[in-house]
């Protein structure tokens, strides 16, 4: 069984990401550092799209609501993974960044040394979720840390 003392886990609560979380916990020992990365994809910046009829107040209300909603979802994921990590006596840290998921993963992997990066598999067709890929050819070519892509739960 592989073990690692410093793991970067990219997870944002989808089924594939939950499988990645489970795998991370299996590979961790007591005292292992688990850094949890959540990327809020940059397409959210363009969510108001070509709206032009609304006034500034309505658009601001929407932006604040969306930020709060995304923030709440991120907090829930941090809380869930953090509690599980604490119960396994792991050293848990987290970070939320906004950007292109593949670029953010690459940046995070370069900011400190990790033994292993763990991510979930891309969502199979027909499964609900956002279209935003973290694992691209470009990322895998540039990554210098071993990458573990955990199979989709029922895939």
């Amino acid at each position: 069984m592989i073990t690692a003392s410093n793991i970067l886990l990219a997870s944002h609560g989808t089924e594939g990401a939950l499988a990645a979380e489970d795998m991370a916990f299996k590979l961790c020992n007591k005292g292992t550092h688990l850094h949890h990365l959540i990327v809020v994809p940059s397409f959210w910046k363009g969510t108001t799209g070509d709206d032009w009829l609304n006034n500034g107040t309505t658009r601001d209300t929407f932006r604040r609501y969306l930020e709060a909603e995304l923030g709440r979802e991120v907090d829930e994921h941090f809380e869930r993974v953090g509690q599980a990590a604490m119960s396994l006596e792991m050293d848990y840290t987290n970070d939320m960044v906004v950007g292109e998921p593949d670029e953010c993963l690459l940046n995070a992997s370069q900011q400190q040394h990790y033994d292993l990066i763990i991510v979930g598999s891309p969502r199979p067709r027909g499964k609900p979720g956002l279209r935003s890929r973290m694992i691209t050819n470009s990322t895998t070519r540039k990554l210098t840390t071993p990458l573990l892509i955990v199979p989709y739960p029922d895939g």
Partner: protein, 527 residues
């Protein structure tokens, strides 16, 4: 934070604009303009020899200051940071309107007409400066990304469109507004309520959450992304539901903007019919304006009809948001907040519509055009009112009309024609209306009809201010739509999926098809 970027971009844009003006004004560009005109008169020469000079000088001056000057935090910094982006949009709109779209027309004409349609590809697909401008905006944001120095200014596109709608208020007559308003209230009322109801019904059958049903019904029913933005917070939509809905609406909207003009051309729809159909059937309000200008790029009759429908939609929006808020609170047991009716209505009310109404009210006082104007035009058969003596009918023209006068049966037409023959010009506004009826009836030969048309044009003048307004409106919409194109990301469109894609697809198609049938049956060629 300092928003103004120290970049040479705006300065360079200004230099290029001035270079374009010089090339056009000095005649250096004449062979290219002749090529674009394809043997006809190049429509934009007036603009090309004036506009880039003024905007170019402005861009050079502000650009030099932004590039070399020092900037401090504050309101002025924020406002000045929008200038570069605004000029960037304007520059793209200029290039597309003056060069790219005419070049597309040259290439398309060279390829010949398409089969039995009798139309060139660019006419059939509505590939004019509006559509190409929006597509250019979409390409810029998705392929090249909006440069940092232009990011703030891209938002000005909304201001451009709203100002365009406000100015549009000057071009409606009271009768026109009454008839169009009545038609739009009936059609929008039926199709908004119908599609909101259909989404909620389908949502319940497919067991989607209330929040998803709520946000999707607003988007599909009222005015696309704008309604989604307004409704999402009140129905507490989840992030993924918002992404699904906006993705679905954007794909539908962009698709409709291309498909609607093609269908309109194939069915030979009138401007009024097409405006009414686009205003009802296209989900997204931005694409309604885009499709209307795509259908009629060098006139604004279609846009006028479509925008009345857009305004009706946006006036309905606060009511629908309120309804959905009440509907959601009643259905969700864990919702603790109450709905403040006044706040919802007040916050969602589109203030720019008041500007439209004000401009319309001002225009009815005759401040922009003579009091008896209709659609910005007025009657005048004296030299003081703009009639040119050389427009008097010639002897051979009078002889032709005299020779064919026996074909006219109706008494009022006979009398009006006789007065025209006797005086060599149309003598009253009533005669003008009667002669137009005679032209439309096609009772006389083509040559005779052409003489009648010239006689009509000789006494029907467009008020100078109204002409300017038309020009401004065209530019404001072109500017706004190119800028809005720069805010349509493929990343957002790719999120279309899940139940919203299925329900949205069904409701969007039903709405488009049914509104087409209703328009073809009920809406006449003129209002």
């Amino acid at each position: 934070m300092i928003y103004t970027k120290k970049s040479p971009a705006l300065f360079i844009i200004g230099i290029i604009m001035i270079a374009i003006w010089w090339l056009a004004d000095s005649g250096t560009m004449a062979p290219y303009i002749e090529h674009l005109a394809m043997g006809k008169k190049y429509s934009y020469l007036g603009e090309l020899t004036t506009l880039p000079l003024y905007t170019g000088i402005f861009a050079v001056l502000i650009g030099a200051w932004q590039w070399f000057g020092s900037h401090k935090e504050g309101h002025w910094d924020f406002y000045s940071s929008t200038i570069a982006g605004g000029m960037f949009i304007l520059f793209i709109a200029m290039l597309v309107r003056w060069f790219v779209a005419p070049e597309v027309a040259v290439i398309s004409t060279g390829m010949g007409k398409v089969g039995e349609t009798g139309s060139y590809i660019h006419k059939l697909l509505g590939l004019n400066y509006v559509v190409i401008g929006i597509v250019t905006g979409i390409i810029i944001v998705n392929v090249f990304k909006i440069p940092a120095w232009a990011e703030n200014g891209v938002r000005l596109s909304r201001l451009g469109l709203k100002t365009g709608v406000i100015l549009l208020g000057t071009l409606y007559s009271a009768a026109e507004l009454k008839n169009l308003g009545g038609l739009s209230i009936v059609m929008i009322g039926f199709f908004v309520l119908g599609s909101v109801g259909l989404v909620l019904w389908m949502g319940a059958r497919r067991n989607i959450p209330n929040s998803m049903g709520g946000v999707l019904s607003a988007g599909m029913g009222v005015c696309g992304v704008s309604a989604t933005v307004a409704a999402a917070p009140v129905v507490q939509a989840k992030s993924v539901e918002i992404a699904y809905t906006i993705g679905t609406i954007l794909i539908w909207g962009v698709g409709c903007m291309f498909v609607f003009p093609i269908i309109g051309n194939l069915l030979g729809m009138s401007y009024v019919q097409f405006g009414a159909w686009a205003g009802t059937g296209i989900l997204n309000s931005a694409q309604v304006a885009g499709a209307a200008l795509a259908y009629q790029p060098d006139g604004i009759e279609t846009l006028k009809v479509a925008e009345i429908f857009n305004i009706t939609r946006v006036l309905v929006l606060p009511i629908i948001v309120l309804w959905l808020a009440l509907w959601y609170v009643r259905r969700e047991e864990n919702v603790t907040h109450t709905v403040n009716v006044g706040t919802v209505i007040f916050e969602k009310f589109p203030v720019f519509v008041l500007g439209f109404i004000l401009m319309f009210a001002l225009s009815t006082t005759g401040v922009f055009a003579p009091a008896n104007h209709y659609k910005g035009k007025y009657f005048g058969n004296t030299a003081e009112s703009g009639f040119k003596q050389e427009k008097l009918l010639k002897a051979d023209q009078i002889a032709l009309l005299q020779g064919e006068s026996s074909k006219v049966q109706r008494e009022d037409r006979k009398t009006a024609l006789q007065r025209l023959i006797e005086n060599g010009k149309i003598m009253s506004i009533d005669d003008d209306a009667t002669i137009r009826g005679l032209i439309n009836a096609k009772v006389m030969s083509k040559d005779a009809n052409n003489i009648l048309k010239d006689a009509h044009k000789a006494v029907r003048h467009t008020a100078k201010k109204i002409k300017k307004f038309r020009q401004w409106i065209t530019w404001l919409f072109a500017f706004g739509l190119v800028g809005l194109g720069m805010q349509i990301t493929v990343g957002s469109m790719r999120q279309a999926g899940g139940q919203p894609a299925v329900i949205g697809g069904v409701v969007g198609f039903v709405k488009a098809a049914l509104s087409l049938i209703v328009v073809m049956i009920l809406v006449h060629e003129t209002i």
